[in-house]
């Protein structure tokens, strides 16, 4: 089998709805009904108050770059043709600043800075798999 090597998310019962949301181009963040705190990753319980009652909130996907790295050498064959690539931690403005990991596209690695305003954009990367990526907010 000579399929192109890839690293893809394997959805589980706690994350299925999140990944289905991505396929619909919706960024869904888990929101605690006990205390109102947003959480990501979308685990079953609230780290703040322990409540198991929650809902999903659809957000527009606005955020800022909180940190980033540039990877020059791949540690998995899936990324051999992507180096040097960036990995970013985004603080989601509409979700209480909750952090998520992603990649920045439509942007040179040298231009990334902490505080850069970004917005989510969805990319179909494989059959049935859509990833949320980010790009600089267009002025």
């Amino acid at each position: 089998m000579s399929e192109k090597p890839m690293v893809l998310p394997a959805p589980d019962r706690d994350s299925a709805e999140y990944w289905e949301g991505c396929k619909r181009r919706e960024l869904l963040i888990k929101h605690c009904l006990g205390c109102g705190t947003f959480r990501y990753p979308p685990g079953p319980g609230c780290p703040e108050c322990g409540s198991l009652e929650c809902d999903w909130v659809k957000i527009r996907g606005e955020g800022v770059v909180f940190s980033f790295i540039i990877v020059p050498v791949p540690t998995h064959p899936a990324f051999e043709d992507k180096v040097p690539y960036n990995v970013v931690v985004i603080s989601l403005t509409e979700a209480g600043g909750v952090h998520m990991v992603s990649n920045l596209i439509d942007c040179r690695n040298e231009d990334i800075y902490i505080g850069m305003p970004v917005e989510v954009v969805f990319q179909d990367v494989y059959e049935g798999v859509t990833l949320p990526l980010f790009r600089p907010v267009r002025k």
């Binding site: 089998m1 000579s2 399929e3 192109k4 090597p5 890839m6 690293v7 893809l8 998310p9 394997a10 959805p11 589980d12 994350s15 990501y40 990753p41 685990g43 780290p47 909180f66 940190s67 980033f68 790295i69 540039i70 990877v71 020059p72 050498v73 791949p74 540690t75 998995h76 064959p77 899936a78 990324f79 992507k82 040097p84 690539y85 990995v87 931690v89 909750v98 952090h99 998520m100 990991v101 992603s102 990649n103 902490i114 990367v125 494989y126 990833l131």
Partner: protein, 397 residues
């Protein structure tokens, strides 16, 4: 109501054993563990019939029952594993002390042995969570926590540490040379230790700054080594230790800490420049021991990356938040400085046994037998892997 101060000085580390550290041990991890345990028992002067407790790091590949079988331990009444990974190093000792002070074991052996260079190299994959390959395909389906990170290309510990390093440098204007000072200090100490992988290979700040980028901003010399080797310790009650061969290394305080951000290395839930798990441990240690950071003479700080040494200098109260990078400069953490750190070379230059070498060097310092002895060292702080639920200990001579 329990009072954790009651465990102070009730137990001691009576024996230590460390094999050679290398790029290829030429033997199994089980053999390495047995050899290290043998060395530790002989060091203590304890017979294997006395051993009734066995504890390990959760990531160690040898099961307690295989160790018991191959070491001739026939009456083990307390056994188990503590994690996560390097964060559990002093966690195993916490459990041993709990067992001994509760009267549930008298003589606990703890080991960590790995072929971390010739076998699985944790630096190359995300060692903290599993991922699986679909049968017959080249697709890696990342499950559990990895599903939210691995697809974006963040897979290895150095990449994860780089995210935090970038944030720390941004927030506190830390410089490359300040991180380099940590690497240089550990390397300098390794020059006194013929068993250290980097013995005979000193480095300068320029060498650190010029070493190749692993994940910008982390360089090769910011990262732990990977090696093959095994270490073991024997813990008994303080009274028993006084009857044995070596000067007891009294456990003044030992604790685990897990503040609930669930922050294993691959999570980024908040600011990232602080290590709240370490702060929780620090609070307990100083309370249990009845001492302050000023009373610590020497420290073995788990150094998977230069960043985490800087972070622990802050978390354990040796300086204020944001001042750790400057604290490491100008020989301050070298032998002769205000707080010598990692006196046998650390993970950065001695070898990587997920914290066992830090425990062993801590024992040597309070025995007065270190090759880089801090004169009159009375108290040594030993920490386990930070940026994961963690643990720590204060040893007293």
């Amino acid at each position: 109501m329990y009072d954790p101060r009651e465990i102070r000085d009730k137990c001691a580390i009576a024996g230590i054993g460390l094999t050679d550290l290398s790029k290829d041990s030429g033997r199994s991890e089980l053999m390495l563990a047995c050899q290290a345990i043998d060395l530790a028992l002989k060091d203590a002067g304890v017979s294997r019939n006395e051993v009734d407790g066995l504890l390990k790091w959760d990531m160690d590949n040898s099961y307690e029952w295989d160790i018991a079988k191959n070491c001739g331990f026939k009456n083990v009444k307390f056994f188990g594993q503590v994690g996560p990974g390097g964060g559990g190093a002093c966690g195993t000792i916490t459990h041993a002390v709990a067992a001994i002070t509760a009267g549930m074991a008298n003589c606990v052996v703890i080991w960590r042995a790995l072929n971390g260079r010739s076998g699985v190299r944790y630096g190359k994959i995300a060692g903290d969570q599993r991922a699986s390959f679909g049968a017959g395909s080249s697709i890696l389906w990342a499950d559990q926590g990895l599903q939210y990170k691995a697809p974006f290309g963040i897979l290895s510990p150095p990449q994860q540490a780089a995210i935090r390093t970038r944030r720390y440098m941004h927030r506190y204007n830390a410089t490359v040379n300040q991180f380099g000072a940590v690497a240089v200090a550990c390397r300098k100490h390794a020059q006194t230790n013929p068993n250290a992988i980097m013995y005979g290979k000193p480095i300068t700040l320029d060498d650190h700054a010029n070493s190749r980028m692993i994940a910008d901003p982390i360089r090769l010399l910011d990262c732990t080594l990977e090696c093959d080797g095994g270490g073991a310790i024997v813990i008994v009650s303080a009274e028993r230790a006084r009857d044995l061969k070596q000067k007891p290394a009294y456990i003044m305080a030992v604790a685990q800490g897990m503040e609930n951000s669930g922050e294993v290395m691959s999570d980024y839930p908040r600011e990232m420049t602080a290590f709240p798990d370490c702060e929780l441990v620090a609070q307990q240690l100083y309370h249990m021991a009845g001492v302050t950071p000023k009373d610590i003479d020497v420290a073995q700080l788990y150094d998977a990356f230069t960043l985490v040494v800087i972070g622990q200098l802050e978390a354990y109260g040796f300086c204020k938040p944001g001042e750790g990078a400057a604290f490491a400069e100008n020989g301050n953490i070298e032998l002769g400085g205000a707080l010598p750190v990692n006196t046998s070379g650390g993970n950065l230059s001695e070898g990587y046994t997920h914290g066992m070498t830090h425990i062993i060097e801590g024992v040597r310092q309070v025995r007065g037998t270190s090759l880089a002895q801090v004169p009159n060292a009375e108290l040594c702080l030993v920490t386990a892997g930070p940026v994961v639920p963690t643990s720590g200990m204060i040893l007293r001579r």
